[in-house]
Every structure is written in C-alpha cells, then in structure tokens.
Subunit: 447 residues, 2 copies
C-alpha cells in the first residue's frame, strides 16, 4: 500500500457545505481534507443512526478475468484487521443492540450499521479501521471463496430464472461490464485469490473513493467532528485511478436468448432494451422512462395488463421495469407470462402489438395524474425510512449523481408530460437495441 | 520503461535446441538469454528471407475500454524511433527490393519483411530498434488515429456483413474479449491516446514476449549470431504480466441476432457455435472439427451443398468454417444463403434438419478419404510457400501451441475417424452454445 507515503497530496480540496432547501430532507454535505465526501441526513424522530460507507467501486470496476472480486472483498471485510478479530465488528454491533451488513452492486460496494445514535463513534472507529487495515489469511480466502461459491449455487445455479437473467444480461451488453454478473462467473470466482482481493482493496478502498452517509438522530457538526477523528486521519490514495468503464458501442442488431431448463415451472418472455440512465443535470429522459414503466407494466391497471391480461387473456402476468440509478447506460425491461395454452411466440407477438399500439394511443391523462400522485406519496412515505433515504443518496452519489440531482428528482418527475413519455417510448423501444428472452421448460434435463 | 534496470533477471533460461524430424520442414528453434524465442525454417530454393517478429499480445489482451489499441500500436510502430525517421523502415525495405507489413489479431501482433537473404542483418537491426525505441509525437497519435478510424469506416461501417459479424461475435462471447472487434469499437478508438499506446507497448513489447521467425534461405547458426547481436542485447522485461484472459462461462442459452441494414443485397443465415481450439498436446477434437467443417460445408460436394443446394434447392450457397488456431475457445460457423423466394426462417429450418440428419447419417467413408488426401496435398503445397510456413508457426506459437504440436498436426489429421467427426458434431452443434444470425435487408434506412 503506497498511500501512506504521500499524505500531503491528499490535503487539497477545500471543505464545502451544501444545505438542502427544496425538499424536506435535512441534508448537510461536506468533504474531509482527504477527499472523503460526507452526507448527513437528519431525522430526529427516533434516537437511531444509520452509518454507511459507500465505495465508488462495484463489480463493473473489476479487472478482466476477476469477476466477483468486488463482492468477495465485501465478504472479506468482515475478517480480521489490525485491531479487530475476524467477526468482531459484527459481534460488537450486535452487542450494542444494532445490526450490520454490506452489499455490492455493479457501481458500488456499501457497508452499514444501524444502531443507537450514541454508538456512532464506535461504528466509525471500526469502519475506518477496515478501510485500510484488513489482515487477511490464506484460510480466510479459502473459506470465504467457498461461501461466495455456495451463495452463487443458492442464488443462481439453483434458479433457472437467475441463470436466464445472467445470459440475457451478457447478450444485452456488447462491451460494458454490466454484462458480467455481480456475484461473478463461477469459473472466475473459483480462481479468486489473496492477490485479487488485496489488489482491488488497494486500488479502490480509500477515503477519496468513499462516501460517508449518516442518517438519523445526529447533528452534522457532531458527525463532522467524529468523521475527522476516525476517517480524516486516513491519507488519501494519490494513485486512485480514473473510473474507466467500457461503454457500449451502437447496438445495431436485435438479439434473442432462448434458455431451456428442466426446472422451469412457468415459461415467460422477457424483453430488455438498452436505455439511458439518470445523468447529472439531465434526468428528464430517465424520468419519462420511470413513467413509461409504470404506465406499461406497473400493476393491474397498467396498459399491458389491460391489453394482455384482461382484454385478450393472453397473459397471466405482465410487468415493466426501469431503474435509472446507474453510472452508465442501463436497461428497460418488459416481461410477459403467458396464460396456459398460449405459446411464448404468441405472447411475444401480443406484447409487441400492445407496445406499438401504446405509442399510437399515447398516454391517458387521468392515469398520468394518478401515477404522479402515487409517486409524490411514495416520496413522502420513503422519507419515513431513514435507511431508505441513506440508500437513496448512497446509490445516487456512487452512480454519478449529486445531492442536488437527488433533490431535484421529485420535481422533475412531476414535470413529465404525456408527450415526453411517448417520445421516450419511441426512443427506447427499438428492436435493434433489444434482447428478447424465452425462458422455456426443457423436455429433458440438459448437460 | 522499467525494463532496462534489471538486466540480470532476464538471463535465466538455458538455451535449448529442437530439430524437427517427422516432417520435411527443417525447423530449428532456440531461445536467447533474454527469453526471446527464435524459430528458423530453412528453405534454400530461393535466396529470399522472410523475417518476422510476433508478439504474444493481440486485441484480446487489451485493457477494458481501450479496444483497438493493439492494432493502433501496430500502425504506430512505423513511425520514428531513436534512430529511424517516421516511415524510414518501410522505405529502407523497399529500397532494398523487399516489402514489409504488419498485422494484428486477437492473439498476436506480427511485423514482417520479405527481402533478399543477405539483407537479414539490416532487417533485424531495424525491427529490434522499434521493439524498444519508438518515439511517438502527439501528431503521430492524432494522424494515425484518423487512419485507423478511416480503416474502420472502410472495413466495417461501410460493410453490413462486417457490422453483422461484429454483433454476432459480441453475442457469441459472454465474457471473453474475442467478443470485442480487433479494430476496436469506434467510440473507444476515438479516445485512444499516447498513454494507451505507450502503456500497451511497455507492457507487451519485449524480447521475452516475442518470437522471432526467420524462414527462407538462411542458416540457423547465422540467424542465431545476428539475433544475438540485435535482439540479444535488449533486456527482458521482468514485469511481463501473466497472460490473463477472461474465459467463457458455460453457454447455457441459445442466442439470436437479427441485423437489418438497407445496404444488404443478399440476406443470409449465419450460425456460430462455441468450439474448442487446438490445445497443446491435445489437438484431436480440433482435428475432428476441421473435417466436420470440410464435410459439412467445404465446397460443392459437401453435405450441406448436396442437401440444401442440389436436393432441395433451398440455398444458393452453404459453408462451414473452423480454424482451430486460437489461444482460447473459438467458434465453428455455418452459413446458408437462401435461394430467391426462400425465407431466412425456411433456410434456417432446412439447415437444422440437415445438421441433425448428418449426425444420423454419419460420415461417408469415401468422402473422408478424399478429404484426407486433399489435406495431405495442401500440406505439401503449403510447404512451397515460405511466407505461409512462417505464418503457420507464428500463429501457432502465439496461440499456445508448440513446434511439436505444429509438426504433429498432419498425422493427427490423418488419424481422425468417422466416429470422431460425428462425436465432435454432437459435442459442438448444441443450440445452447450457439448464436444464430439473420442478416436482413431493412425496409428503410435505419438511424
């Protein structure tokens, strides 16, 4: 680890302070001298605190051939450090009446503890410790590699829908690492070793690549003081590389994936279109896609449900899904589960007819208003959940958005028009940028 | 460049000498003290020499996000060095009555000159020079980037078959960099800069990552003496990384790619199966696949031609293609060009029926004998071409094979049985490991 030798270089960025005004979230943000961003979200209703550290490093930041290492390292961060025994961090959280965990996605890895507000000091002390002081043994590597392989067995290998989804993703992304599963390809996971883990840790784990998010019954100045004590003393990593991602080339050819598995109980059609994500300062297209997903497939009153489940009874389930929080281009997904005696081919044809018809019909004004009201309500409900709020900021900030973007989002959603939605549908629902998947029951067990 | 500082580390491998006996190629191989492999193939019929340097680095060795850099660097190696003006190397070759060029593939980059045998000394001097002494200017970068972009325009963007092939490849490889085009994705080529080029050069261009192949009217000891003078003085790169490739996970789902382009004059069906390559010491499966391609689609007497072109007249052209020289898993390809008024769907169905029927029918013994004789003849004819022979060794050695593997190959081919071929067909022609592509004429110009 080279980072200890050049402390001076890290002391560059001036502290800044942002205070939210347009929304009820009371958000304070500042930066430590070593480049660590800090976000404090006050919620004094319950004397509880959610303490999170988010790294701007996820599975899409992994080197070629080492898929799964981001998630592997996340597991390994619960092992020993210079001052903590293996498992001691979680045990300490539990002994203090809290709970802790961590999660990895394509764009981030996050660690959190939820605990009584007066334990924040202790949480920071332990979290800061494992940012730089992990001490792995070969036995940790062997044991935890077995754990992640077993996790893959449970979540993916034993689940035809998950296997199907993996193959769909690989076909959707021609060049981007979003085509590689977060948990990793099994054959690469089997080869993950100490060097892979430590290399990922050394490159990506440093205060200048991390965001501290504290939500709950806390005072920003108190958080600042504690953060300076625990995180502020860690030198920035001057060798932190630029976050280079392999972007998609133009998608020019429509793709199809047919996955057969004897374990499939319910075949279905899945359609995935490449779609823009929420870009900082330019979230309008993504906002329109949020509505498009809701209107097409957001429940039993949606367009696809009406056309395919109630009118023609071709399908027993329809859905459309879009989440714009992503560092790079993401996907817009539609699913149709055919009724008995309806083939996948018929279900797909009915889906395509309905999608084309929707662009013709346009958006029902009443439905749009209803969805806007629902979204506004869910924003308000969401604010009741300190954990959810912290996650929202963490995901956004590791995905290229700013606090201002997060706070502007509700108004951007409310400003979406029927025309925006149809335009978004036209722009995104292009065959040549899509993958169509058929999950089918195999006649016999394959392989 | 760190390589100059640790000369001593490079002086490790003892010189070895192999002399071919089983085949008429007179091949001598040895290694310089700095780890550079040397292969000499004698052919004294004409006083000409083919001088080649092959690097074990191709586009599949490129870092994420920098596709095209291997080929870009290949272009840049014709610019100035410490002692040569930009373009001087090629001009010197031409002035000496020779010709020179270079080529890049997924697994290798190679540079060659073909010239009168008494000019070998000069060729080595210049080639050794640009192995370590290139001096690029920002203008070289800008100019040559424009050249490769124009090359992409000519070869790919203006050619619907090439665009189709790119999208097929991207769908074929779920994880391997063979899914990325050798020339690069345009958006990544546009961003290639001096740092990308020099970084690839520093990592991959060194004597211990290179193979010198000299064929023609030369004496091995003379080649050794010259090689020691010119290449032997270049220190090995002690930091040469292991050649890490991202291997394929199990391919579990059949994929389809439909590419529509207004410029398509002749639609066709293309089918690509993932297939094993020639592995060192285990080339038997690949040998059977060579026969499978010949028997299925190697000309007008092939199985597919007979079934689809002559019997049913569904197709105007059929073909099957396999080249086993590849560092990692490769593909086995079948193509069917439908007759007028035959749809791609009908052509594909006829192809699948024929492939299934072939596995039922098995291999015609007479046809197998005929192909074996042809292969033996083509081996002999190939030996008449010193350039072809040098290429054969260069491609093999940069693709994980040995000289012994190259020399054993003709006998392995002759030993293939009808049963081996049917077994290979059963093993490889699996829908779940395949991509089926339809190249179609667009009704209107897209995009």
């Amino acid at each position: 680890m080279l980072r200890a030798i050049t402390l001076a270089l890290g002391l560059s960025v001036a502290t800044s302070l942002t205070h939210a005004q347009e929304i009820d979230d009371v958000v304070t943000s500042f930066e430590l001298d070593n480049g660590m961003q800090v976000v404090v979200i006050e919620d004094h209703r319950v004397p509880v605190v959610q303490h999170m550290v988010w790294y701007r490093a996820g599975s899409a930041d992994e080197p070629i051939g080492s898929s799964g290492v981001a998630h592997f390292l996340e597991h390994l961060l619960f092992k020993a450090t210079d001052t903590l025994e293996s498992g001691e961090l979680s045990a300490t959280v539990a002994a203090n009446g809290g709970r802790d965990n961590a999660f990895t996605s394509w764009d981030y890895t996050a660690y959190f503890q939820r605990v009584a507000a007066d334990r924040l000091d202790l949480m920071m002390q332990m979290e800061a410790d494992r940012m730089v002081n992990i001490r792995l043994t070969e036995r940790d590597i062997v044991t935890e590699r077995q754990v992640i392989l077993e996790e893959r067995n449970q979540r993916v290998e034993n689940n035809p829908r998950a296997l199907f989804s993996e193959q769909m993703n690989a076909a959707q992304y021609l060049n981007h690492r979003y085509g590689v599963p977060i948990i990793g390809w099994r054959h690469e996971m089997e080869a993950l070793d100490m060097e892979d883990a430590i290399s990922f840790y050394d490159i990506h784990y440093s205060p200048n690549n991390a965001i501290l998010i504290v939500s709950g019954d806390v005072d920003p100045e108190e958080v600042r003081a504690l953060a300076e004590i625990h995180y502020g003393v860690i030198p920035a990593n001057p060798a932190l590389p630029e976050r280079i991602r392999s972007q998609e080339p133009p998608q020019r050819a429509e793709r199809r994936v047919i996955y057969r598995d004897a374990r499939v109980a319910q075949p279905y059609v899945s359609r995935s279109y490449i779609a823009p994500e929420r870009d900082s300062g330019a979230q309008e297209k993504a906002a329109a896609l949020v509505f498009l997903a809701e209107i097409l497939g957001g429940g039993t009153t949606s367009y696809l449900a009406e056309k395919l489940q109630f009118d023609s009874q071709v399908a027993v389930f329809t859905g459309a899904f879009y989440s714009g929080v992503s560092l790079d281009d993401t996907s817009f997904d539609v699913i149709v589960v055919p009724a008995p005696n309806v083939t996948l081919e018929e279900a797909e044809a009915a889906m395509d007819t309905a999608l084309a018809q929707f662009i013709e019909d346009g958006v029902d004004a009443e439905q749009l208003d209803r969805i806007k009201m629902q979204l506004r309500a869910s924003e308000i409900y969401a604010r009741d959940n300190a954990e959810g709020i912290a996650n929202r900021y963490g995901r956004a900030l590791t995905s290229g958005l700013t606090i201002a973007d997060v706070q502007a989002w509700p108004d951007i959603l409310q400003a979406v028009t029927a025309e925006d939605i149809v335009e978004a549908a036209r722009a995104v629902l292009r065959p040549e940028a899509s993958v169509t998947g058929w999950l089918m029951q195999a006649e016999e067990v394959l392989q």
